[in-house]
Symmetry: C2
Subunit: 270 residues, 2 copies
């Protein structure tokens, strides 16, 4: 089954999912679309988020994908159920895998969730958590300043530290928390700064890593794993500026991804 | 969907999966069957393992289960594909979840696998690993002495330490290993001793915890999660002696499981 997996995100955050998909499923071909032009989705209305997401999905469906990964928490919060109902291919979002990993991780049932305003407002994480395990204590916090700094490539240093420290102040009151969900695919790029601010005793859950793992499960049970050995290259699309997308991609992937040269980055017209 | 999940094992090892299922999916009702009478499965022939497993499955099918968890690595190695083909309910084994977690965990692609003779002889783990990620270095080691001591309740102390230390000696040659799969559901009960012997820098993967998480994924995508709020009790069956099964169950669950009193343990006739 040598068809590609489609991955969508509002910008570059979903590349953290791509990175994990490449590592955990190196035999799978990926097609990525980042809606950089209209990023961030966090402060947008539900109606806009739904329309933008469907535009991205329709673009990827023309590429004959075998599975769709909604690598954006905001888009997952507002569209996952509808996508799962309407599409004939498996669709995985980033919220349920993150919720499941947090439940596995917590020892005292106190879980924090940080995400965009849209994700937090939707209560998607608290709903996903309580559906699986009702006896949890949760706190949710919107961090609207994180996506803009990540999209500018500010992933460490004093500005990143001050931004994170200030945003996470309200979490201090929830002092029993032992697990914190990074409920936005941009946030793993700030993971080191976030860990430093919350302290080493709190387990950070990256919805990106967990989503890659769940994608592996779903491909396998649907017998969709690639069983061919032909060589292939991944394709990356952005709705925004190609040069800045390329530069951010290099920064995110560091030097650990060898096939970056062979990647075709085109400007998607949607 | 208030039907139970069926869980089978050759003995008490599968209770480590049950423990995690209770923790990660507290709303789900479980029916467990341990074939204590014929345990261990490790040294048995493929034909015997397949016959015994089908006898357990047939028993649980009379209980109207909505999903089957094969919580025994040896049984998974020899029967999973056949069970998945022949049963109309979802079937999950313990090998693929463990393989997936090891791939997520390893940073240098050097993975060790310990299991029963039957599991190791089947190459089920190395096959599962290489299907997902071909560029891994693996070492497999059978530890036939572990299941018998666990079934006797010897989980710590000098006998457990000497047994583990002696069995794991051949792993010393594979000194780049950063991840070790506990490829038998009995082994998490020896986790502390194993960690002490291999050292803190090696990540131990418990197929039990990972299987519980994958069960959660599979229930959710098949829309089989329990959405009713009626109270229920779990049911435990053994083919062996009820008194010693009860005593081992208490030891394994420690005091952390509150509803042990309400559990019905009966002798299964198969």
């Amino acid at each position: 089954m040598n068809k590609p997996i489609g991955v969508i995100d509002s910008g570059v955050g979903g590349l953290t999912v791509v990175h994990e998909l490449m590592r955990q499923l190196p035999r799978e071909k990926l097609i990525y679309l980042g809606d950089t032009l209209r990023c961030p989705y966090g402060p947008r209305t539900a109606k806009e988020i739904i329309r933008f997401t469907w535009e991205m999905v329709d673009f990827l469906l023309t590429k004959d994908i075998k599975m769709l990964v909604v690598a954006c928490n905001t888009a997952t919060a507002y569209t996952l159920e509808e996508l799962q109902k309407k599409l004939t291919i498996p669709v995985v979002g980033v919220i349920q895998p993150g919720a499941r990993a947090a439940i596995k991780s917590t020892l005292n049932n106190h879980i924090g969730i940080i995400g965009t305003e849209g994700t937090i407002r939707s209560n998607a994480y608290s709903n996903a958590l309580s559906m699986l395990k009702p006896d949890l204590y949760t706190i949710s916090l919107a961090c609207p300043t994180f996506v803009p700094i990540v999209e500018k490539g500010i992933l460490s240093g004093s500005l990143a530290e001050r931004t994170v420290e200030h945003a996470l102040l309200p979490l201090k009151k929830f002092d029993e928390m032992d697990t914190l969900i990074l409920g936005c695919t941009h946030y793993p790029l700030l993971k080191e700064v976030i860990q430093q601010v919350v302290g080493p005793e709190i387990t950070l859950i990256s919805s990106s890593e967990e989503t890659a793992r769940e994608t592996s499960t779903i491909l396998q049970i649907n017998q969709l794993l690639n069983d061919e050995t032909e060589s292939f290259y991944h394709q990356f699309y952005t709705t925004g500026d190609v040069a800045s997308f390329t530069s951010l991609t290099k920064r995110i992937f560091n030097s650990s991804i060898d096939n970056l040269k062979s990647v075709a980055i085109e400007k998607a017209v949607i």
